[in-house]
Symmetry: C2
Subunit: 240 residues, 2 copies
Amino acid sequence: MSERDDAPHDFSRAVLQPVSGYQAVAGFLRREMALGRIRPGDRLPPERRLAEQLGVSRETLRQALRILEGSGQIVISRGASGGAIVQDAALDPRLIREEVRTRSAEIGELTEFRSIVESGGAALAASRRSDADLEAMALAQRDLAAAVTKAESRIADTDFHIALAEASGNSFVRDAVEEARVRMFEPVDLMSFDFVKESSWAAHEQILDAVRRGDGEAADAAMRAHLRTTREEFTRVVES
Amino acid sequence: MSERDDAPHDFSRAVLQPVSGYQAVAGFLRREMALGRIRPGDRLPPERRLAEQLGVSRETLRQALRILEGSGQIVISRGASGGAIVQDAALDPRLIREEVRTRSAEIGELTEFRSIVESGGAALAASRRSDADLEAMALAQRDLAAAVTKAESRIADTDFHIALAEASGNSFVRDAVEEARVRMFEPVDLMSFDFVKESSWAAHEQILDAVRRGDGEAADAAMRAHLRTTREEFTRVVES
DNA sequence: GCTAATGGGCTAGAAAGTAGACCATTAGCC
DNA sequence: GGCTAATGGTCTACTTTCTAGCCCATTAGC
């Protein structure tokens, strides 16, 4: 075995910060929003029901809702058919550009990581996809084509990538894709880029076609090309 | 946009279980052991110091130590130069085989995921590795060659894969490799397989050689071949 | 105007974590 | 043998967080 330091272990950098219940709940809901499983206009279940589903007390859930309310992600109203309505957070483009610039190193690494995982996932999907998988991807493509707002484009884009990851049949691939996506979009809450909708749609179409044909190598290459374009788009934003 | 269900969201399956502080600390320490950053024979820092480094109170840390003590991973003694000594958990091979059989589906997916991420990481490492990276990998190889016990082999193997992931220069790749490794080895604490030491060493050598030459494609292919062998080894264990 | 559904708010208590003090044990040195 | 320092063992008082349960306030629809 290699020479081990006799110096005592140093875990000073291992922060291990405690996440209180209400923070965990707020984080969970934000994540669901970032992944588009909860979308602008949706109404959350009543507090009592949601609290039970999440396995926390109502007070804890309410603290989480206060956080989301504070950041403008939900609006809460009282009375019958009241409740928490998810908002469409239309961020100032200047804020987004600033955010991308601040996190440019992280976003670059993230895109590189996505390229590895998603191209591998696409190759797997080419040999495993079911008809339902293909239909889910095709639906996301139709949504992307029909998207008008930036938020709609982003959601349809997410749907496509998640559906593809799901089609890979590997739960670790799917989780990694989800996690990377959350890391990319969650921090600024619905951050979106001036990505060219048409070019994304065309790239997805190529990927989908390769997956449909069962051509793993082509699917792999198409996904890599797609995310290379994405990365170049980020660079463009940072330098603009 | 696609037709959204009007039915209320259902988060019943989102368990979101609270992780208390002592569980988080115990998990952290187990993780460090699984990754070989804490090794059999090592002595943990004194409670007061470790608690401060981890940012928890001493009582909380002590509860975590009780858990590790209970599972036989550490032995605690009192007095000057006392403390917690990490144990070498030599598991019964029958238990290991049973564990692998129970988790065979998960381990299969995990190895597939590793193959994707680590081959991509190897390709990156080929173009980015520093001399220090190469030296770390070479050291792990020397350790593997010199390993006598199973635990030593496993640690040297981990060292190699982590050093390679580090050399990729992508922190998400490194984290994913660590995480996959923990998932593979942590649950049964130092689970190890009857993997052929020599074949692993030879495979590593091929990877290292490709990384040294800066040949990304070869590094990618060599890593995929290596993990294919690993997977076949698992299959063999399951079927034996 | 009644009713039901919904969020708002309060209290009492349990559970977990913290901070600090002091005790018990042990190795090493004189 | 005894002293000292380092270490784990134990206890208490306090704070924060979470829970459970109850009732109030508001509102849409009949």
